[in-house]
């Protein structure tokens, strides 16, 4: 399908007071796409969004929106095409949620802003879409932050926009409403062809909902591309300058750094590099809770014997000091077994979880017996 560019940011430079914070922004967005800006705090995600919504004037370049220069369109025309959800706290005085949502109909009402029955129906529909119908008569100041966010989204929806711009829309929401908000956005984008541009802090969600990702860092756009290309471990590590934890691109989860064994109760720098004292024998995901527990106590450990396709492996890779591996779909390899037996000898604790043992990993039983004989075995 030959889709043409709907929004084109052409050599855009954005910033405050005439000083460019980010320059050389060249981005093409197609109709109905969900585009997410990610990047560290203060990178300028909001600055870019504010420039697109004309809260800030451009420092350079231009935005072409549906073949018109966005910053030359008149406000009324633009307001029928673009709706926004901002991060700023809304201070209202004696306005109900219904009033707030109804203000989205502003571009369509007459001189005095009186709602027609059609307008009222659209307000109702928008409130129903975000499950905020029961909030209607409540004072906007008397509801929770999460509810406010939903009401503001309803407001944007009933503005009937072609493009909706949201600055960190998920900030105050609990996970249920985060998912709900994002699925509403996806629905709008895919069913009604509404283009969504937003900034998100939750990179895991950004990965799952976006068609395109804009990474903002420094004074340029760091990367622009499809989520598959952006959400790589090194890319995220570099974007957020992570030196204290991990991003797991497979599940989009973030992990704290490996346990070091150092802490106030003992341990010192020279212990670093010494072998861990705990060996976790697990498979099929049964090791994950054990790893997390050890990590919380800051106890380094060895994990084994895992195949790269095992669920445990994905986390052990990030958290364990060492992972003893053996190839997928093969009987446990001899070198791996020898290494594991050696680990059992050296560690003071061997933790074995409950997992199925079959033809391929038969020798695990030997390992557990060995640990038992040495009196180090703990079963969980």
């Amino acid at each position: 399908m030959a889709e043409k560019t709907y929004i084109k940011m052409d050599d855009l430079a954005v910033g405050y007071n005439g000083k460019a914070l980010i320059r050389d922004i060249c981005i093409d967005i197609k109709k109905g796409e969900i585009v997410t800006l990610i990047g560290p705090n203060g990178a300028g995600k909001s600055t870019i969004l504010k420039s697109i919504t004309r809260q800030l004037s451009l420092i350079g370049g231009k935005v072409i929106f549906d073949e018109q220069n966005l910053h030359k369109m008149n406000f009324r025309e633009l307001s029928q095409k673009m709706a926004v959800v901002l991060t700023e706290r809304l201070k209202t005085d004696l306005l109900t949620c219904y009033d707030i949502v109804a203000s989205g109909r502003y571009p369509y009402t007459g001189k005095l802003g009186i709602l027609t029955e059609e307008d009222e129906r659209k307000v109702d529909a928008a409130m129903a879409a975000v499950h905020a119908t029961e909030l209607g008569p409540k004072d906007f100041n008397a509801i929770s932050d999460g509810q406010r966010q939903r009401v503001l989204l309803a407001r944007a929806i009933c503005q009937d926009p072609e493009i909706i711009i949201l600055d960190e829309p998920t900030s105050f929401l609990d996970i249920r409403y985060k998912l709900e908000l994002l699925s509403i956005l996806r629905d709008m984008a895919k069913r009604r062809g509404i283009t969504v541009i937003m900034s998100l802090h939750e990179i895991d969600l950004a990965q799952k909902i976006s068609d395109r990702i804009i990474c903002v860092k420094g004074d340029r756009i760091y990367r622009y591309g499809q989520p598959e290309d952006i959400f790589r471990e090194e890319m995220i590590r570099e974007l957020y300058s992570l030196d204290n934890g991990f991003f797991d691109p497979l599940f989009g989860s973030i992990e704290l750094p490996q346990p070091t064994g150092k802490g106030w109760s003992g341990g010192s720098a020279d212990q670093e590099g010494s072998e861990p004292q705990v060996f976790v024998i697990s498979a099929c995901g049964t090791g994950i809770p054990v790893y997390r527990k050890l990590q919380k106590k800051n106890i380094p450990f060895i994990a084994g014997i895992l195949t790269p396709g095992d669920k445990d492996y994905q986390l052990a890779r990030l958290l364990a000091a060492r992972v003893i591996t053996s190839p997928d779909f093969e009987a446990l390899a001899e070198p791996a077994f020898a290494e594991a037996a050696e680990a059992v000898h050296r560690c003071s604790r061997v933790i074995a979880t409950d997992f199925p043992i079959g033809t391929m990993n038969r020798r695990i039983e030997e390992l557990i017996e060995l640990a038992d004989r040495e009196g180090k075995l703990e079963r969980v």
């Binding site: 307001s79 709706a83 926004v84 004696l94 989205g104 502003y106 009186i114």
Partner: protein, 357 residues
């Protein structure tokens, strides 16, 4: 018939917040009815009381049929009626100016008096009065209004400059109060060195009073405030959007720059008209919009703007009545009375807001 059927679904039977909307509309309507009733009652009391008592029947005859004794007709038509009408119009204008300023500064305590706008107008009017007295010119009401308008704008712009530099609610009020002090000091300075005969008028006027109004005053007030009201009503839609903050308003298609200029010009014009004729009057601009919003239970400009006009009118008529009668034959200045009723409202407002947060 079919129109009726559609309608019923959105009226109370529809449940949910449409019933709520209906309830709120009824509440606004009720407030308007109560204010209208208060207006009639206060008007009648206002006319029939004073040094000369005139009965209700005589009032009706004098007003509608122009019948009665010469003296009564004279009192009603040349003294009491113009005064009542002016106090009503100017009270409405003050409340409107207050509402506009509160919208502009996004601050419920903003008003022409606290922000020093009335004092600015007073200062320029004093200068003009003295200058004209020196040159023995006749001062027309148009000159007065223009002088007051210039003073209002001057003070507003000054406060505006400060408020852009220090974007802080408290500092804004401090700036306004300071501007007020400076302007008052300048006025006092000029009064001190003026000829006694020149300042006789000035002194009465600078305390704020509705006494001595003529039908010409009524006509000028009616025209200026009428225009101000119509323009404010025309702005009610963008004001509604602006209540959600500048950025949302812009995203809804409001041209913020033009809108702000319109707000400042209108509020200056309205408070200038008041100051030109009645002198600086305190608290009406804050108290009335607050009371109107509170009783109506909404801040929707479409109902609050006419509410402020009528409410401010009724409030000022009542205050003027009290100013005239409380210690008759001595007449108090109007600010004394508005402060007694207005200040507690402001205090209540601050306390209740703190609680709400």
């Amino acid at each position: 018939m079919s129109g009726n059927a559609v309608r019923t679904t959105t009226l109370p039977g529809g449940g949910g917040y449409h019933a709520e909307n209906f309830r709120r509309r009824s509440r606004c309507l009720l407030v308007f009815i109560i204010m209208a009733a208060a207006f009639v009652v206060i008007t009648v009391i206002n006319i029939n009381s004073g040094n000369v008592h005139i009965s209700v029947g005589e009032i009706a005859r004098a007003i509608f049929l122009r019948e009665g004794t010469e003296k009564n007709l004279d009192i009603i038509w040349t003294i009491r009626l113009p005064r009542i009408i002016v106090s009503m119009i100017l009270g409405g204008a003050l409340a409107l100016a207050g509402f506009l300023l509160q919208t502009f500064f996004e601050n419920p305590i903003a008003g022409p008096y606290v922000l020093g706008i009335s004092s600015g107008a007073k200062m320029v009017v004093a200068v003009v009065l003295l200058a004209f007295a020196q040159a023995s010119f006749q001062v027309t009401s148009l000159t007065l209004i223009l002088a007051a308008f210039a003073g209002s704008l001057l003070a507003t712009l000054f406060v505006l400059v400060i408020s852009y530099r220090v974007p802080n609610m408290a500092m804004l009020l401090v700036a306004g109060i300071m501007v007020g002090y400076i302007c008052n000091a300048v006025t006092e300075f000029m009064v001190t060195f003026a000829e006694d005969s020149d300042i006789a008028n000035l002194h009465v006027w600078s305390q704020g009073s509705f006494s001595g109004m003529t039908w010409t005053n009524v006509a000028v007030c009616l025209v200026v405030v009428g225009i101000g009201f119509i323009l404010t009503m025309a702005l009610s839609k963008p004001i509604g959007a602006y209540q959600m903050g500048e950025n949302y308003a812009r995203s809804l298609g409001v041209n913020i720059r033009i809108f702000r200029i319109a707000l400042i010009t209108l509020s200056s014009l309205l408070s200038a008209c008041v100051t030109a004729f009645a002198g600086p009057i305190s608290f009406v601009g804050i108290a009335v919009p607050f009371l109107i919003k509170g009783t109506m239970g909404t801040s929707k400009p479409l109902v609050v703007i006419p509410g402020c006009l009528i409410g401010g009118g009724v409030f000022c008529m009542l205050c003027d009545l009290i100013a005239r009668l409380a210690f008759a034959p001595v007449e108090m200045n109007i600010s004394t009375v508005t402060a007694v009723f207005g200040a507690p409202v402001v205090i209540y407002m601050m306390v209740s807001r703190r609680k709400g947060r």
